[in-house]
């Protein structure tokens, strides 16, 4: 419940403030968002598995974001930025899908 409320508050604040993404952050933000979503779905699945821990969630959330941003940064420096971003998105997408599948099995037995 808390995270859902937080998400809603964040969205509302974002809509109200209409933030402009700083230029230095622009390449990293989309990947960071995907990574954070991956952490969120992982957390939901952990809750359903009965092994959720706030601490693990916070750490995994932050590390996901940082690592994703770092990979993109590294890719940019190596000249393979767009390909690496694509790779990260694919990997995170696969993980999100498998987490969602697991959540679905828990909640709907299907």
């Amino acid at each position: 419940m808390i995270p859902a409320i937080g998400l809603a508050i964040g969205i509302v604040v974002g809509l109200l403030l209409q933030p402009a993404v700083p230029v230095w952050l622009q390449p990293y933000l989309p990947i960071a968002v995907i990574a954070a979503l991956d952490a969120v779905f992982g957390a939901v699945r952990a809750i359903l598995d009965g092994i959720f821990s706030d601490k693990v969630f916070v750490v995994s959330f932050l590390s996901n974001v940082v690592v994703a941003a770092f990979i993109v940064f590294l890719g940019d420096k190596l000249g393979v930025g767009s390909q690496l971003s694509t790779g990260v998105v694919v990997v995170l997408g696969v993980r999100i899908f498998s987490n969602v599948a697991s959540i679905r099995r828990h909640l709907f037995d299907a």
């Binding site: 998400l7 509302v12 974002g14 933030p19 390449p27 957390a43 959720f52 990979i71």
Partner: protein, 257 residues
């Protein structure tokens, strides 16, 4: 980027779904622990970031693109420009072509129309108007023969007549005159005196041709008639002939128009 809270795909015995929902509810129950607040902060940050990114994506301009993307974009634009300018050249060429062709067609059409008009007057299928004379031959005694009319027509042609009408009959290349009962048969049409010829051409020349000594006027007078010439600035020759298709004569085919 391993997710420490998740062993990937740990095979779980399928739980009772009600159990899972209850667990989800329990986990969602608000409790103000320190880590819960931290989670909330993260969630707020995530929502904020999502919105920021969505907005950014919708207004994204060139400045956020990477160098290689810009180069590719530039090459694309370059290529597009080349393609479009060559298309412009092609279209302009065909426009010029069509332009010249249409003016050529107009020209040809105008020339053809002039030709049709000229031929129509010549063949007697088109009415004609212009300066000229009327020649009236009074023949109270019925003694003017057809040859006089024929001579008059010849004389008028020599004088440059462009369109001639005797009574209601147009005089053209194959017009013939013969003596008839009460008058003169012109191409089979009976024309009775007084014979009125309407002639288009240079009026003074035509009038002069009628008056020459031993000419038409003199001949008519000799047989007891009276020829009167009126010079007009506007003579209408409106008798028409329908063109009959020649039965034997065929045009010689020409290769080019």
């Amino acid at each position: 980027m391993t997710d420490p809270d998740r062993p990937v795909r740990a095979p779980q015995p399928p739980e009772d779904a009600r159990h899972a929902w209850a667990r989800l509810r329990r986990a969602g129950a608000p409790s103000m622990s320190r880590s819960n607040i931290l989670v909330m902060v993260l969630a707020i940050a995530l929502g904020f970031a999502i919105i920021a990114q969505v907005r950014q994506t919708s207004v994204q301009g060139l400045e956020t693109l990477r160098e290689d993307e810009l180069v590719r974009l530039f090459a694309d634009v370059d290529q597009d420009g080349d393609r479009l300018s060559s298309e412009i050249r092609d279209l302009q060429t065909s426009l010029q072509l069509l332009d010249s062709r249409s003016t050529g067609e107009e020209e040809a059409q105008r020339a053809a129309k002039e030709r049709v008009d000229a031929l129509g007057i010549l063949a007697g299928t088109a009415p004609a108007v212009g300066q000229g004379i009327t020649l009236r031959i009074d023949d109270p005694e019925g003694k003017v023969p057809s040859t006089v009319l024929l001579d008059a027509v010849q004389e008028l042609r020599d004088a440059g007549a462009e369109a001639i009408q005797v009574g209601d009959v147009r005089v053209v290349a194959d017009t013939w005159f013969a003596d008839g009962g009460d008058g003169i048969s012109v191409s089979g049409v009976e024309v009775r005196p007084p014979y009125v010829l309407r002639v288009i051409g240079d009026s003074n020349t035509l009038a002069g041709a009628m008056q020459i000594p031993g000419g038409v006027t003199a001949t008519v007078r000799r047989v007891g008639g009276e020829a009167t010439v009126d010079i007009r600035t506007r003579v209408v020759v409106d008798a028409l002939l329908s063109v009959s298709t020649p039965q034997y004569a065929r045009p010689v085919p020409t290769t080019t128009p």
